[in-house]
Chain length 201, copies 2
DNA sequence: GCATAGTTCGAACGATCGTTCGAAATTGTA
DNA sequence: TACAATTTCGAACGATCGTTCGAACTATGC
């Protein structure tokens, strides 16, 4: 990896932490300069501007989550694996990644609408693929559910997982794996329960 | 109600919608002037400044949710009502209120850290009472759960409910009551499942 | 009609923001 | 060492922000 790319990566990570702490709009380029040790003008050698910086952070992080999830599920391919098990693997990966990359994921979750135009569209495209992935998993778990309800259930699950940036401390009493297990059990248990309640049984 | 208070209320509601649409920091006082029909300087007759405006919106809305929840539960008091039923009533009220006051609740959920100092503290105090209320309900449902896990479960539930500002359209295919039912079934079903999985049975 | 309190607003201020630019410093190559 | 490419940065610009101020307008009581 070229030294330029390494410095850019380091810059993105530092910036993500500041964005996560103070929020994107409240963070000034001067804050970022102070946090990264670069000069105010120096940052513009690596990034076109503040909004492109946010975009790079979001794009990089989202691509990693998506690729990671696809890779995890690729190891559990085929009809021989329980659909619920695949769903739980997805949840575990998402929560685990979230806990391991708190700053970036908070920026991804909280600043989802801080981009505009082309950049907004590109990030939304990745998001769509990720949501589709989860919806396919839910379809395998509950093939008879109406699509609307399945879609709503997907967003409810994302709510459980993405909200954690508001309260969760990965270094606290609950380690990431335990949290992932808790969320996975709550959702899969309740999702099955909801089905049996609504669709007979 | 004095005309002054009515105009203030109307002002807060209009401002909440703009904050919900564009975000607090991206909204300028000039945007609010245009959206409310008032002049730029005229708004300062009703509000000390931009941050106090956000505080008034959050404080008013949060007080309403808390009071509403307490009132709903007051109608289900005593040991004669199933704890799960009381929990479901809480969920139904929260989701219903959210759907009926989308703008304010989005501002409440998304701009939770946009206040500082005394105002931040006052809103946090109300939030604490509200979280405590839910945790007591969960304690009645699962008395043997460790407090940490119960607290985490509470935040997981809030995640399911508060995330909806990111995707839910109250005028869409899923009406608020159906969404509330879906969330209530997912959580209560899964919460019970999680308990039986973790604590034997 | 007059005085008082309540309400609105045009115009401007100071502060801070993101960004730019050309020069300086550093690194790589012979 | 000499030269070119890459990388850094001090200083400043124009724009926009939240807020202020005093004057002007309106409603109310006498």
């Amino acid at each position: 990896m070229r030294p330029y790319d390494e410095r850019l990566d380091h810059f993105l990570s530092r910036a993500a932490r500041v964005f996560a702490d103070k929020g994107y709009h409240s963070t000034t380029m001067r804050d970022l300069a102070a946090a990264t040790g670069m000069s105010l003008a120096g940052m513009y050698y690596y990034v076109q501007g503040k909004e492109e910086l946010l975009y790079r952070i979001q794009e990089r992080c989202f691509t990693q989550v998506l690729a990671g999830a696809e890779q995890v599920l690729a190891g559990l391919r085929g009809g021989d694996v329980d659909p619920i098990e695949r769903l739980q693997a997805f949840i575990r990966h998402h929560v685990g990644f979230f806990a391991a990359h708190m700053a970036e994921m908070k920026v991804l979750s909280h600043e989802a609408n801080s981009l505009a135009g082309e950049r907004q569209r590109k990030v939304s495209a990745i998001k769509r693929r990720y949501v589709d992935l989860l919806e396919r998993l839910l379809r395998d778990v509950a093939p008879d559910d109406p699509a609307v309800e399945r879609s709503a259930a997907a967003y409810v699950l994302f709510g459980m997982m993405n909200w954690i940036y508001n309260w969760y401390d990965p270094a606290g009493e609950i380690d990431p794996e335990r949290l992932a297990g808790l969320i996975a059990r709550i959702f899969t248990g309740g999702f099955a329960e909801a089905r049996s309640t609504v669709h007979g049984g």
